[in-house]
Symmetry: C4
Subunit: 189 residues, 4 copies
């Protein structure tokens, strides 16, 4: 089986998720700059989620470059990742509309963590399918950055209940870590 | 005619259906874990519908692997399937927001049944077009799993009026039956 | 220039239009079959618009089979068609929620007419670009069916103000006319 | 790396943005032509934004024709462009629902300006990656039209606070400037 439709479907779902998030930015009734002020945290959260989804898209793009054939397990590992990503607009809206308070900030981290785990499962599924000479394993190595991100999310979730703004800072730092596309794979390409 | 656009259009529609369902998960105004409790049945229904749509997508993906050329009847059989799938968000929202009561649970089953029938019609249309040496017929054989699913839906619909939670269990069991991609086709690929 | 992205973009836009229409089917708060009754005209209008968009998609699919190269005028003639199609959910909702009364029924016909004119303009633009040996002109000939549809819409619009249900019947009859994919082109393919 | 997924993802995002804008056209409860009157500015703004997004799509289409290989910086420059374009439905709704008053009209111009800057950054990123013999640089030359558009937006933003309708006129004039696809590139293709 070829990877064309897996890529096309994932592109479609991520494109829709990244775009419907903007629907949470409700058009205000007033027409002053003041009317935009309550939207600032919503806009900042939207920007952060846009960057996270952009990271998933570019990394997915890099990862699939290492894939020639696709099996059923990969289709479902990919759908599992898309499921968690599809919850991003919900937690983005919840955290953004409530200006980064405790529970919604923790919920945001939980969705990020689950998406990160799902990405790792997809990576492991591909490596298992490719066997001992896996191109992807050679490219990602021990995947330090991937596991570091999971550790950062695990840290940020309890921090949300004490200092939610620190947790948001950890999310932003994790995004910054990934903004550069993975040099290990780019080098090989 | 080639199948590229049929695949691309189906991928697009299924990607959108699977993603707009999440809009039913309305962002709560409160910020406690308690505020998420009424969303639990909505989230569970969303998960079940996500899995059903994932099944349709992967099976559609497998089925189209057996197709080389496309005719007008196939385009319309495919649109017919997409029509029933497009009603999924509506019945998902109705069943989920009302915590699995009678009529919405039956309506959910009716949409699943009609989508299952539409899938079978598409399968038969392809087999008829491919003629006596149909690759797809060789792959699906008597399609026991397909007809068993239709029988399960037909059973679950009346059950909804007596014990809606049992009907939901039947839907979940049917999904479980399909979670593994069709080995008959995978073997041939 | 190749036609790949023109097809992909059109598929994307039509897939989204056909799917967001279903958002007009608002989930009722009650859980009886009765609660669905006010949705019946909305569902029927949705079905009709789904069929119309399906017709545009399959005809667009057939037409692009006759196209090898794309120029700027074709890109814009295509965007013009997509603009009118994008108004379909609006008039579908307006007509469906008001049970086929005069003005919304006429507005529905106006959008159908404008989309039909836009399709004809796209067809003429392609034929002009292909020059004297245009494959598309050879396939569509005098395009009797296309012009007959425009005449039917022009008739139905004033009829909407007298007997809106007759106008709806004319729309349905026009759709029926097109349900079979164009044999002139299919023969040539 | 190939450009296929970059094109597919951009097509998907632009297709969704262009289509969800129409959701701002709320179905009126009345059924007279009068009921459409308050929607006229919303519809006109939608039309203008549709044209702007169409321009970005066709120019993106032309620009990517000059690209053979893609790197990580291009993926992110492209995501940056899509981010600003994704804010179009928000400012379109704000300006349209308030009939072109000062602040929303300026906000509309700011989003256009930022999208224009993002497009220029993407162009420069591609040219830098292609090196001294860049096909794209040869095609766009000094990009007079691109910089003229940025100058027009910079002019229109302060004008919005004095005569918002003049600012809207400047936006429309800028769109008119671009409606013809770039002859410099078309000639080379």
């Amino acid at each position: 089986m070829t990877k064309t439709r897996l890529e096309a479907f994932s592109d479609g779902v991520i494109a829709i998720i990244i775009t419907i998030m903007v629907l949470e930015l409700r058009v205000p009734h007033e027409t002053s700059w003041e009317a935009l002020r309550p939207l600032v945290p919503v806009l900042l959260t939207y920007l952060m989620s846009f960057v996270f989804l952009g990271i998933y898209w570019t990394n997915h793009h890099h990862m699939l470059h290492m894939v020639d054939r696709v099996n059923g397990a990969m289709l479902w590992a990919n759908l599992h990742l898309l499921f968690w990503l599809s919850l991003t607009p919900f937690v983005t809206g919840w955290m953004g509309e409530n200006k980064f308070v405790e529970v919604p900030t923790a919920a945001y981290g939980i969705v990020l963590l689950m998406a990160g785990i799902a990405y790792t499962i997809l990576e492991r599924t591909i490596i298992a399918f490719q066997g001992p000479h896996s191109k992807l394993r050679a490219a990602v190595g021990r995947d330090v950055k991937g596991y570091a991100s999971l550790a950062l999310y695990v840290t940020a979730i309890p921090v949300s209940f004490v200092e939610p703004r620190v947790a948001v800072g950890i999310y932003a730092a994790t995004a910054a870590l990934w903004l550069v596309p993975d040099p290990r794979i780019e080098r090989r390409v």
